[in-house]
Symmetry: C2
Subunit: 222 residues, 2 copies
């Protein structure tokens, strides 16, 4: 089964556990922009990405957003199954940033396996620790770095994900990643353009001096 190759703890499960997962597994293809999970009472299950890209973010009551982290091929999304753990008391929303193929392991199938298998429980623990590390990195960015550094770091990250210097992003979407207002981003991008680091045109930002952007944003909290 193809899923078994993608799921790192498969070989550490009993035949009964493997059978329970095979029977309950859902395979899905979603279009870019799909909201896969919207926090709260929603308990979708664990998501395992075959190909594509997901984005985990939080929302303020006024509708402002901030990106917590991205998930790529072979990554597992735990917070879409947050109902499994009573101590998770926060809401994370998950959307597809690219067309994505994924598997859903329903929470009521995963939970009893995790409760009985030390191996699966420790694996789940490592996933949570790894997301926690990403959120702590973001916390440090927000606490100690100014917005110009954060915009530079975001553009470098995007260029690396897309493997391109010319990015199709709106000022609005950058603001939604960084948890600020569009006007703030527009001002920052103009500053970066004046400094020769980017070139702006309708719907795109082109990185014209990556070395200079690295100096500004690359050394962020390393």
């Amino acid at each position: 089964m193809e899923f078994a190759e993608y799921f790192p703890v498969w070989d550490h499960m009993t035949p009964q556990q493997q059978q329970a997962i095979s029977a309950g597994l859902v395979s899905r293809s979603v279009k870019k922009g799909t909201i896969l999970h919207s926090g709260g009472t929603d308990c979708t299950g664990l998501l395992l990405i075959k190909t594509g890209q997901l984005r985990a973010f939080i929302l303020s009551r006024e509708g402002r957003e901030v990106t917590l982290y991205r998930l790529f091929d072979r990554d597992i999304c735990l917070f879409s199954a947050s109902c499994m753990m009573r101590s998770i008391q926060f809401d994370v929303a998950i959307s597809a940033e690219k067309d994505t193929r994924l598997w859903i392991i329903p929470s009521d199938i995963y939970r009893p396996i995790m409760e009985r298998s030390a191996y699966v429980a420790n694996y789940t623990n490592e996933i949570m620790a790894s997301r926690f590390s990403e959120v702590m990195w973001l916390m440090e960015q927000v606490m100690w770095n100014s917005m110009d550094k954060r915009v530079a770091a975001f553009l470098l990250e995007e260029a690396s994900i897309e493997d391109a210097n010319r990015l199709r992003v709106t000022h609005e979407s950058i603001a939604n990643h960084l948890g600020t207002h569009r006007e703030v981003i527009t001002r920052m991008l103009r500053y970066l353009q004046n400094e020769g680091m980017v070139r702006l045109s309708r719907g795109t930002v082109e990185l014209t001096d990556r070395a200079k952007l690295e100096v500004l944003g690359g050394a962020v909290n390393i």
Copy 2:
């Protein structure tokens, strides 16, 4: 053994596991102000508080601090044993905010038990999820709330911990909890004093109108 009463998974461990913990357990009393863990390579072990109060915080390269959460009687501190999990890639410092009596379970004793026992692994998972929830709450405060709301919420939390309206805190220490500069806190406190919510004197802040503070800071992200 007194420890067994305080440690919720004791009854779910095998006699061998209980014996390993008893043999390795360290009992300690520390004075207010003691740094118990300073992140990085330091791998103190799990801390279980008998009585007292600990503070988990992060530090910027310039020495600025921000409080992540507090730990009280019967709470367990996991990040002082973060070396146990390879996916934890951030540094948290731990200090005693009051004179504290605690037990230390060395990481090299806890780790093999967690690796074999699903019960202990899931318990560890719940502790991490609960700290993650506190950090997410802080993230939401930092992202969506202005500093006046955060100062009001901090004063209300302190008054509740100390069970007193008159708090012995310096502007510097409030700044270190909230990750900002002393001058910012001084300005905020003067504003709150002008509004009749607090009274300032040397080394103390007295809450004079809790209802009004609640309106400002109490409804923060609930």
